[in-house]
């Protein structure tokens, strides 16, 4: 964290020294960059050869300007990301970026803070990455969340216009999240419902996994392009498979072995938590592989089912403790099949799994369309602030 603060207001103008040279001046060897790249390549499921190529490329780049906006949110995403960084391997990302504006973390406030944002935007025009945390309220002209006399909508539009790309962090910035939960009193929406002319990477989750942020920024820096995204705009490397696909309890699901209640003997033996409400089969995220708190554990390993927090409208999808098969709508058809498969030991085939995955993607897309319609309705209600770029 100390390094984070230290780096925050260092000049972000293009510097003569490359990252490799800057690190060498600090006595940091190229092994550190290789180690970091191995870490990023592993979490992004890149081919093994990518790590050394990535390290070479990173060493030749310069620090990336990042402007971090906080809107309608609980700051849990910032908590997640900053608390995860200890002064070791993960800390290196702060040598690679220049965090030029962050209301939560910066020392200055008021006009000086806004001046810092404007300055960073001017000096890095067309080159900075805009990170957005929190949803944007559109109802009643966006009056429900303002900062420095401007609505979130105004700040977002102003900051986005010269950004290289936007990373929407957390389920609020991506899909509206909890602020958009029914009846969505503020008309909250995610970034991609407002900004249409910039590349947007959705890093969903409540909060998202810190490594997804690290990996995404490092990928852009070293590869010079955006990572491949899924239908919901999320990096495929992290959201390409369900929690269930990579869960260590999955082999027990295949054998039809399920926990019947929390902390029963079956749960302790590692049996699948499907019947106690786990949403792993329909949730696309990397918790089962990257885990949390620096790879220590994740909810299912701690004995609790997945809540599905990285999927749109997770808050409005019924009880967290009812099996997926009891849910209404399209999900029901999808997961009843899954449960039957799990109950029959060893009969799950790759074909069935691919089919389920395709259905899940279709369901997610359908939900996204419904959400767009819902958001459009909310925008129509907006008196002034609902005009899109």
């Amino acid at each position: 964290m100390a390094k984070l603060y230290q780096n925050m207001f260092e000049a972000s103008v293009p510097q003569a020294l490359t990252l490799g040279e800057q690190l060498a001046q600090k006595g940091v060897s190229r092994r550190s960059i290789l180690k970091f790249s191995s870490y990023v390549a592993a979490i992004m499921a890149l081919p093994p050869s990518a790590a050394s190529a990535m390290a070479e490329s990173l060493a030749k780049t310069r620090r990336q300007s990042v402007i971090w906006l906080s809107f309608q949110e609980c700051t849990g995403c910032t908590e997640s990301i900053t608390r995860s960084f200890s002064p070791t391997l993960e800390d290196l990302i702060f040598d690679f970026i220049s965090l030029d504006y962050s209301e939560t973390l910066m020392d200055v406030s008021g006009l000086a803070a806004e001046a810092a944002r404007k300055q960073a935007m001017e000096e890095n025009k067309g080159k900075y990455i805009l990170v957005v945390e929190g949803s944007i309220p559109l109802k009643d002209g966006g009056v429900y969340s303002t900062s420095a006399g401007e609505t979130n909508l105004e700040v977002l539009k102003d900051s986005a216009k010269d950004a290289l790309a936007i990373i929407a962090v957390g389920s609020c910035a991506t899909f509206g999240g909890i602020p958009a939960a029914l009846p969505n009193p503020t008309g909250a929406v995610g970034v991609d419902k407002i900004i249409k002319d910039k590349p947007i990477i959705n890093v969903s989750g409540c909060p998202p996994i810190p490594e997804v942020m690290t990996g995404t920024i490092s990928y852009i820096l070293s590869m010079g392009k955006l990572p491949d995204l899924d239908a919901l705009g999320r990096p495929l490397a992290f959201y390409g498979e369900t929690i269930h696909d990579r869960c260590y309890r999955r082999p027990f699901y295949e054998k039809g072995l399920f926990a019947k209640s929390f902390d029963d003997e079956a749960a302790r033996k590692g049996h699948c938590l499907y019947e106690v409400g786990c949403k792993g089969p329909t949730t696309y995220n990397a918790c089962a592989t990257l885990k949390w708190n620096g790879g220590l554990t994740f909810p299912i390993q701690s004995g609790h089912g997945c809540l599905g927090c990285s999927e749109p409208d997770f808050w409005d999808k019924g009880s967290f403790y009812q099996p997926l098969s009891t849910h209404k709508g399209d999900l029901e058809k999808m997961v009843v099949g899954g449960a039957a498969i799990g109950a029959t030991a060893g009969v799950t085939s790759a074909v069935v799994m691919r089919s389920r995955r395709a259905k899940a993607i279709k369901t997610a897309q359908k939900q996204a369309e419904i959400k767009v319609q819902k958001d459009s309705a909310a925008e129509d209600q907006s008196a002034q602030g609902g005009q899109h770029d």
């Binding site: 060897s29 870490y39 070791t88 391997l89 260590y248 592989t289 554990t297």
Partner: protein, 154 residues
Amino acid sequence: MTRNSLDEIDMVGRETIAMISGLSLALMTEISGHLDAFTKTGKAQTIDLRALPMTDDDLRDLDMRLGKGEVMATLSVSGNSEVWETAYAGVWRVRHFGGGEKAMVDEIVITKVPEILISHPDDISVAAVRLRTAQEEMSDDFRDDEVRDDEDVN
């Protein structure tokens, strides 16, 4: 996966239950195939163990099957790292630890020597300059000492 396994944090006297899914056996087959291929093509391979749905017991089982060979190295590079050759030459284990000594990278690498152990040419160039500077400073100090000694004698 981490140094804090489920067994280790089970401190309330419950019966420890091993959770072995059998993946380690499947991995042995994959490693064997990669090693065969490496002997023929020289193509290195990496298996990311963190990406597999393995329990801590699965990992322990795998390491037990692979054993330890002649080379073991610890690195202090942005945190700690452990690299060791298994009992099968050319099959390496590479583990990078982050904050709290948690494994951030946990791999099996099939190669001659893992790249992390090899000095980078840029680091060697910097080291050459540093060594030359240090050597010149030492020579200067030595000369200054000699001059002082001569003055003292006179």
